[in-house]
Symmetry: D2
Subunit: 210 residues, 4 copies
């Protein structure tokens, strides 16, 4: 019903996470009214994104390729000599890494899994970087210089059904390595209420009391 260039762009924006056709239409009308320079700025940023950003060869965290860093293949965290290189925290996605960094309580390395395992079907398992994780734990020195070896792997997936299934799968994968595998503590979150908490969370809160 909209002219074709508008309709096509609505379709593209509708593929963005959380965006439906009505919001996508608002995006297009917003762009139509934007000064030409602003549109060009946006286009420049989008087009440079994939060129200026690369994924860390160790942890898959995206980082900027700057002049001096162009040969570097490790992100700021992996190349930081002050990080504890015996600790590895496995997260589902980039924003989870950022959330943990904001606490300033974790000083080890990360690994971005790139998703979760819903079922244990092969095509599902292929979507996450399980093989890559195994390689990095087995031979970290292939990726990061200095004779490092991991003493603890923290499986920091979300305590959701998908996150739990992923932990179960990864525990099986990592079993042979005989490395200590831990999970984030369960309990009541800040602002939570006993009355509305599920039994599993409350049980964990009781067990984890201190």
């Amino acid at each position: 019903m909209y002219p074709s260039p508008i309709q096509k762009l609505i379709e593209q924006f509708s593929k963005f996470p959380t965006v439906g056709p009505r919001t996508a239409a608002r995006f297009v009308f917003y762009l139509m009214k934007l000064p030409k320079e602003e549109v060009e700025k946006l286009i420049k940023l989008v087009s440079e994104l994939q060129n200026k950003i690369t994924l860390c060869v160790f942890c898959f965290n995206p980082f900027e390729i700057t002049g001096s860093q162009s040969q570097k293949k490790l992100c700021q965290i992996c190349s930081d000599p002050r990080r504890e290189k015996s600790l590895l925290c496995v997260v589902e996605k980039e924003t989870d890494l950022l959330s943990l960094e904001k606490t300033k309580k974790y000083k080890g390395l990360y690994f971005i899994l790139g998703g979760t395992v819903g079922t244990l079907k092969k095509e599902d398992i292929k979507k996450i970087r399980a093989k890559e994780l195994l390689e990095r734990i087995k031979n970290p020195s292939n990726f990061i210089r200095g004779g490092i070896s991991f003493k603890e792997i923290i499986l920091a997936t979300n305590p959701t059904i998908e996150g739990e299934a992923t932990v179960l799968y990864l525990e099986r994968v990592l079993k042979s390595l005989k490395v200590k595998v831990t999970r984030l503590g369960r309990g009541l979150p800040v602002g939570g209420e006993l009355e509305y908490a599920d039994e599993e969370t409350l049980s964990s809160a009781l067990e984890g009391r201190k």
Copy 2:
């Protein structure tokens, strides 16, 4: 905290309507993982948008400039000989026009005001196309061929505070023209309930009974 190319793009997306920084970050990670061709397709559509789309000289409805239409300056609705050219419906924005078209009950012309008047301050009034509306009602033939003259102007702004203020302002502007000015009917919407309706809506529903 994100690398600069990501951070800058998050800032741009945060300016999009309804988008906050968290959603903007999800947009950027979505784009980072998108196949290069898909990103290029999106960029092409965004960059062509302002070139391929023009605003109708009469009603300000955006429409596609096609080869044969390149000389045309009127949108499909304004150039459609079957539309009733004595009726003009003034709407706030493009999506309102589309909503009314979907009812298939309105056969007249439209005029897109481009906003509402919150207060009656000069800078506020400048933002809407009040002067343009007046010109088009006074001399429609300057824009659309054929000796047309409007018999009714429907002020179809939203029945919100801003929409009502805009109607009051436009009624004053159009007063001198002695053309019939109407407003959309008020009443209970489909699915509405008397118990939760405000008194004004209920009064309108009572008066408008039939």
Copy 3:
């Protein structure tokens, strides 16, 4: 899990409209902590409710039986000589009557239907006061003194699916009476937006413009 007197009371409160077991439990703990006089006051009010309140013989509106009114069988509205006795407004329930009264725009009489007709099954139809409505329209003088006759019946059910089905049923019932039957006007409610309105509401708003 709670002691039996608490559990039983939770069950009773859970039958109250909009109340689930958790809220019902909060009600019981609230009552347990209430001063004895307050509990007694509540009990008195509840126990007197059905004795002190009676339903109007004409419109089924609940009203208080006071000393002087004990012989009266009509509510304040039905016995008010200033009400227009040629107009009858049929509503689903007591609160709808109150909502319409608050507008101060309606001066006729009411009839409380006591529900809606979901389907046209016999057991469903029995639940509403359709027969009673018919009697009152045919012979209003059997209920209210003075030679009154209705010139218009306003079917003011909610514009929901159930309300619409009820209108269709009542229109059939009232057909033989040859009295004018109207419905509340449809349109955009105060605060509504064209963009989010359904097509039927918008069509009504267009048709009902003035």
Copy 4:
């Protein structure tokens, strides 16, 4: 606007937790239509509530006074010989006790504080059973037979601002007793997501990993 017996009852129900005047009105109309026996059943349950239920002299948990129990002053939990009498869990309210019981993981005793301390003002502190708690920890044998003494006091208030303030106050009160004082474990709840967790919850989840 409603008849006085209805209006007065609406006012009483409006004092119930979570109930506003509109819901209160629905309660009254629900009661008006209820069969007389049902109303009487409700009244009986409400009037017996305070007579049939008493508060445990040790933990303040409400329990039913039955014939054989009429001399008893302890609730089922406090009088259960299988409960671990060295553990005391302090909760804000009755429903929190119930939530913890449902986990079947806790085998000690409880103490219902009866609220939280918002500020440290005297009138605020009076509202909670701090003095009673202190007495029971100091001399449990005054309330429960058998030479019991507590080895751990779990302060299981909600991890909300009020709950935290209460913990700070109670820790000060209990300091002199030299008994071990613990709190429920913090962490991610079941179904929680790292992305939306606050920094304190994430820090606790990291520290509490296992």
